[in-house]
């Protein structure tokens, strides 16, 4: 499902070269739930960006869903992303649209037939426990609800891989647990999950395979 082979990502800051990822290699099999754990600045987001081809590695190979990502054309990148659900720390909901419209929006831009959209949106909203808030605007939602709406948007397309980049990072413990439960349900439905967090305790409670990043290096791969 995911394979990184000796991946380096180096940013040039003026004359100085800063390695964000150094010689990272790992594999994630189909159907796995993997936690990517590390403090802020450890390279989690950089690694995630490589997986949905928002960025390319300076060296090494990144393979996702059987595609080597470095040489993909723009069209191939779009095709790849259609199979990946992405959730960020800030939910990135569109403020001028309701929760329903936010979820429906991505289905419409991907050309989902109109008759299927309502059903799929409500299926996704039910899965995250947000169907009662379908007509609410993002400004009317709590942070936890916003994150659940973002998850609904990600799973409405039935992705093969869910990339969650610190979705619980700005939530309190109770809300974080709720969001995590939803992500586990999504994984239980067969979706491969890569979940990034800076909270080591959260990674421990998950009791799943954990990749620990520190200073851009993969320090541990356990569980």
């Amino acid at each position: 499902m995911i394979e990184l082979h000796r991946v380096w990502k180096i940013y040039a800051v003026g004359p100085v070269k800063v390695p964000a990822l150094s010689d990272v290699s790992f594999r994630v099999a189909k159907g796995e739930f993997v936690t990517l754990c590390g403090p802020s600045g450890s390279g989690k987001t950089t690694l995630m960006r490589l997986l949905y081809r928002e960025d390319v590695p300076s060296e090494g190979e990144v393979e996702v869903l059987g595609e080597e990502l470095t040489m993909l054309t723009r069209r191939q990148v779009a095709a790849l992303r259609r199979s990946i659900g992405i959730v960020f720390q800030d939910a990135k909901l569109l403020p001028g649209r309701t929760v329903y419209e936010n979820v429906a929006f991505v289905l419409r831009v991907l050309g989902t037939p109109r008759r299927e959209i309502t059903g799929r949106v409500f299926d996704a909203l039910r899965a995250v426990g947000l169907s009662a808030r379908a007509q609410a605007y993002p400004a009317q939602l709590s942070q936890g609800e916003s994150q659940r709406a973002a998850l609904a948007r990600a799973i409405a397309r039935k992705p093969l891989l869910l990339i969650a980049d610190e979705p619980t990072g700005s939530l309190d413990e109770g809300m974080a647990a709720e969001v995590l439960d939803i992500i586990k349900d999504i994984w239980a439905g067969g979706t491969t999950v890569l979940f990034a967090t800076h909270q080591a305790a959260l990674a421990t409670t998950l009791q799943r395979r954990t990749l620990s990043l520190q200073g851009g290096r993969l320090m541990k791969d356990e569980g």
Binding site: Y52, E54, R74, R75, V77, A78, A79, L80, R81, R82, S83, I84, I86, K92, L94, P95, F105, V106, R108, V109, L110, G111, R157
Partner: protein
């Protein structure tokens, strides 16, 4: 999908607000100016065509030929390229015509010791022969005939008239082009504002793998809509001006140019203006997209 893209384009148009309104007005202004000059020019062109249809070239002969020679001469001239019809006018017929023109003073002609009028050929050119170049070469050929004394009815005045018509058209095109340039830049600015307003949406679209045309088309379409609305407004302005000013100007035009009535732009011209407006708007939208594409 088209309905969705159209909906997004309309949403973008609303977002652009006053800048979009300015762009629409500028497009209207440029197309109205272009259309007005087009209208003037086409009416002048109509006058030129009418003049051309009535054009006759007169070849005055050195001496009146005997009947068998005059028939041969007429036949020779009729075979010349650019000649539609030839009529021989003898000295007696010419004098009769003069008397008709003089009316009650016709006796003056009778008092002349001899008929001073020359025999002539009255030539009606073909459509090709009535063009400026055609007429010029026909006159040259006729002047070269050994029987010719002088050729009258040249088209120099029409040459100047048509040149004026072309200048008017070019001036209109130049004014329209300058205004169109300003309109394109305004549409581009409106689109840039839209891009700023919808950057979050575009980011989401790209992250979920929307095809690039779905991301870009609403921008292009909102520019095209601005252009189309501007063109429709311009056409309404032209129709309004034509309805108000036409009846007032028509008598003057009839008197000076000889055309019975002013005509409005043909449907094809109107469609061309609408297409031009849509393309102008689309170009503005496309330019802004080109500037900000990630």
């Amino acid at each position: 999908m088209f309905g969705f893209l159209l909906g997004e384009a309309l949403r973008d148009l609303r977002r652009a607000g006053r800048v979009a309104v300015s762009a629409i007005l500028l497009i209207s202004l440029s197309l109205a100016a272009l259309g007005a000059f087009w209208l003037l020019s086409s009416n002048l062109g109509q006058a030129v065509d009418q003049f051309r249809e009535r054009v006759k070239i007169i070849v005055y002969l050195k001496r009146e030929p005997p009947p068998n020679e005059s028939n041969a001469l007429v036949e020779r001239v009729r075979r010349m390229p650019g000649v539609a019809a030839v009529r021989y006018v003898g000295k007696i017929e010419a004098l009769g015509t003069l008397k008709q023109v003089l009316g009650k003073d016709a006796a003056v002609a009778d008092s002349l010791p001899q008929n001073p009028l020359p025999a002539s050929l009255e030539i009606t050119p073909t459509a090709e022969g009535a063009t400026l170049d055609g007429a010029r070469s026909l006159v040259t050929r006729l002047a070269a005939l050994p029987e010719t004394d002088e050729v009258g009815g040249g088209l120099d005045w029409m040459d100047r008239f048509a040149q004026g018509q072309r200048l008017l058209w070019l001036f209109g095109l130049a004014v329209g082009a300058v205004l169109a340039g300003a309109a394109i830049l305004t549409v581009a600015t409106a689109t840039a504002l839209v891009l700023h307003a919808r950057r979050d949406e575009m980011e989401i679209m790209r992250l979920v793998g929307a095809p690039e045309h779905v991301v870009q088309l609403p921008l292009l379409m909102q520019g095209m809509m601005q252009g189309l609305i501007g063109a429709v407004l311009a056409i309404w302005v032209l129709i309004g001006c034509y309805a108000i000013l036409g009846p007032r100007v028509e008598p003057l035009v009839t008197e000076t140019l000889g055309i019975t009535r002013l005509t409005f732009l043909r449907p094809l011209n109107v469609v061309s203006l609408m297409i031009a407006g849509t393309l102008l708007g689309g170009l503005g939208g496309w330019m802004a997209r080109g500037r900000t594409e990630p």
